[in-house]
Symmetry: C2
C-alpha cells in the first residue's frame, strides 16, 4: 500500500487559491472605507505607489510565464490599488493643509 | 543562428523578484505613517484582517511547495501587515468615539 503523501496537491491548490482570493479581495473594504469617509489621510501615498508598481511587475511576470491565475489575481489587485491611489491623490490636496499642522515627514 | 527568445528567463526572474520586493516593502511606509500619526482611522480593519489571513495562506502554500522566495516574501509581508493591524486595533478604541459621529458602516 502506498503511504499517504504529506500534502495532497488539491489541498495545496486550494490553499494557494484562498491566499490569492483573500489578498486580492482585501483591497475592496479599503477602497470602500476611503470612498465613504472621503478621507485618505492615514493611507500612505508611498505604499500605494510602490505596491501598484509591484503589482504591475507581477502582471508582466504572469504574462511572461503565461500563468492565468497570476494574471487574473494581480490584474484585479492592481485595479483596486490604482483606485485607492486615485482617491488618495484626489483627497490629498484637501488634506495637505491639515497635515502641515502636525506632520513633518509623510511616509 | 538561433532566434532570440521572446523573454529571457533571467529577465522573467528579475521582474518576479522586483514584484515581490516592491509589494512587500510597500507596507513599510504604511506602517511608519500610522505609527508617526498615531492614527489609523482611514485604514480598513476588514482589509488587514483579510489580507493577513491571505498572507498566512501564502506562507502555508510556500512551505507546502517548499519555495524559499514565497516563504521569505510572504513571511515578511505578513509580519508588516500584522504590525499595521495591531496599531489599527490599538488606535481603534480611541477613534471609535469620533467615528460614531460620521460613520454608519465601517468597511
Amino acid at each position: 500500500m502506498a503511504t499517504l503523501p504529506l500534502s495532497a496537491s488539491w489541498v495545496t491548490g486550494w490553499i494557494g487559491s484562498t491566499a490569492a482570493l483573500c489578498t486580492t479581495i482585501s483591497f475592496v473594504p479599503q477602497l470602500l472605507r476611503v470612498w465613504q469617509r472621503k478621507s485618505a489621510r492615514d493611507i500612505s501615498l508611498a505604499m500605494f505607489l510602490l505596491f501598484s508598481f509591484g503589482e504591475a511587475c507581477w502582471l508582466v511576470y504572469g504574462l511572461d510565464i503565461r500563468s492565468g491565475p497570476i494574471i487574473i489575481a494581480n490584474a484585479a489587485t492592481l485595479a483596486l490599488a490604482l483606485a485607492i491611489l486615485a482617491l488618495k491623490l484626489r483627497y490629498g490636496r484637501r488634506d495637505t493643509a491639515v497635515d502641515k499642522a502636525d506632520d513633518r515627514i509623510e511616509p
